[in-house]
């Protein structure tokens, strides 16, 4: 591949062929399919929470003192909490918070991180080294710690927690894209379009960017899980969503007070976090095998 220069039709044909093979590899991976299944289930829970939840009004500040601390039963699958709300309904609504949180955080991280990585990778010079030095600063601290510090100076709300996490997350994408660009820059097809007079922006967006998608997609999938872990952690510490918001982390923090007698309060939201993160990890691992990409799977904070 490195030596041959393909015409666009051929590239498209090879890409289609690659996709087809990738899909068949993906289908043969049981774990990746399980991961996809879990994620689809969680996504369905999030989207249809108002319809599926047996007590949708319990998502907020509802109280029913006649029904407090009911253990799991047919009426309340996951039991009820200290003010009589149905934990199952709240867990369903919690999926909305965690998933949308992950999507927003990663969108922001992508929007900041990818352009910076492209710039730093394609052009060398002081701008590029400045960008990379700045990412060093951000990566000098485990991301959860930085997110905590940022969340602390802001008011503890869900939006601010989101801002805090996104603020710490983008350097990973800058680094990833930077590394990809450095190696792609040398490839024959980039050289070729440079030799026919394509401008730098054209090369960066038309030639290089499309080729960085597979590691980015794999990383995004794995990161969804990690972002959810950090977000629930912040909420657990009281630096994210506040009661009565049905965020999983907040629910665990609230439920912990009534342990050990009312074990279900903290157990089920935690199980939901675990399953969601597991789902994204399984899918991410599967995608990594499919796309055959090597990425840094290590993060400072999650």
């Amino acid at each position: 591949m490195a030596e041959t220069i393909l015409v666009p039709q051929e590239i498209r044909a090879t890409r289609r062929e690659e996709l087809r093979r990738a899909w068949s590899r993906f289908r043969s991976s049981t774990l990746a399919l399980v991961g996809l299944g879990i994620i689809l289930m969680m996504a369905a829970a999030a989207i249809f929470a108002p319809t599926i939840a047996p007590y949708p009004q319990h998502a907020g500040g509802f109280v029913d003192f006649a029904n407090t601390f009911q253990p799991p039963s047919r009426a309340h699958l996951f039991g009820t909490d200290d003010v009589g709300r149905d934990v199952f309904s709240r867990v369903l609504f919690g999926a909305r918070i965690s998933l949308s949180m992950g999507i927003v955080v990663l969108s922001i991280a992508l929007a900041i991180g990818v352009p910076l990585g492209l710039i730093a990778g394609y052009w060398s010079g002081w701008v590029s080294s400045l960008i990379m030095r700045i990412t060093d600063v951000f990566l000098a601290l485990p991301s959860i710690v930085l997110a905590l510090a940022v969340a602390a100076v802001l008011k503890p709300t869900l939006t601010n927690a989101m801002i805090a996490i996104a603020f710490t997350w983008w350097p990973w994408y800058t680094r990833l894209v930077y590394g990809e660009v450095l190696s792609l820059k040398q490839e024959a097809f980039v050289e070729a379009s440079r030799s026919v007079g394509a401008g730098p922006w054209r090369i960066v967006f038309k030639e290089i960017l499309p080729n960085t998608w597979s590691p980015i997609i794999v990383k995004l999938t794995l990161d969804m899980g990690f972002v959810i872990l950090v977000e629930t952690g912040l909420s657990f510490l009281g630096l994210g969503a506040q009661p009565p918001t049905p965020a999983w982390g907040t629910m665990i923090a609230e439920g912990r007070i009534y342990m050990p007698a009312n074990w279900w309060l903290a157990t089920f939201p935690g199980l939901a976090i675990f399953l969601t993160v597991l789902g994204f990890n399984l899918l991410g691992d599967g995608l990594r095998d499919v796309f055959d990409v090597q990425i840094e799977q290590w993060r400072g904070g999650a």
Binding site: L141, A149, A152, K155, T232, G233, R256, G270, Q297
Partner: protein, 335 residues
Amino acid sequence: MSFRTYLLRRLLHIIPALLGLSILIFVLSRVVPGDPARLALGPDATQEQVEQLRREMGLDKPLVVQYLRYMGGLFRGDFGFSLRTRRNVAQDIKEFLPATVELTTVAMLFAIALGVPLGVLSAVRKDRPEDHISRILALIGVALPRFWLAILLQLLFAYYLGILPTIGRGPAPPVRLTGIYLLDSLLALDFRAFLIALKHLILPAFALSVGSLAQIMRLVRANMIEEMRRDYVLAARSYGLPERVVIYKYALKNAFSSALTVIGLSYGFLLGNAFLVETVFAWPGLAFYGVDSLLFKDLNAVVGVTIVIGVAFAVVNLLVDIAYGYLDPRIRYET
């Protein structure tokens, strides 16, 4: 480039990053909405009292001056005054840091002590039941929210089984030398105190370590599988070396040294999660202190804790680099 120059270059890389971090955190802490002086004195204080405190804290000066003053103090061991504990943050850090060092170190050692053998087992018995079980455990380990696991462990071992303490570090050993209870009790030859300290450590250290354990296991497995295919492993077999020497010496040393840098990174992992686990176990460490400071908006403490953690993270990674150079001579001699 010799190994020493390499380390020196790493160091030169770390220092600007840490300085940048201090600026970042400092600026963040000063642009905070709300007046820290007012916050400290409460709503009943008069405007004059607030102004007085602002002057004392130097909050009336420009940001640059505040930062330079702060950094100047930092190098003299003065981390500023804590509004919450009413003493110098340096003192607080000195008091709380050892507990976190103890917890994270034990957790890391635990992760290595269990993750490496499991990784090797998985690689050697690739695609057999042992491999599948270890891999599934690793997948679970990565995905478990540490604070939730901590709560479940408390529930099981402390409440239902009643065999381990729920919270805290237990009574301090009679002599405080390092502040690390395990070490202090050993140095005082007080084995009962050692045992008590250990009992308090087990649950939090385990809860903290699962993620790193799983990551180390996965990495060692992947590296071992790669190593077992190498020519020198085949050659070692051809000389008639026993399989245990081939695996545990010839393949593992290579696999482990390439896993090392990542072990350093995963220490950051542990430091981050210590904030959650220490909270659950009321473990009186730096992270516990940090969380309280965060919630109280005790900004000098927040800045101090973050900088100390940044430095700790950097130091661990540097140590790992040194260990890597020691284990793998190619780093020392080549390039």
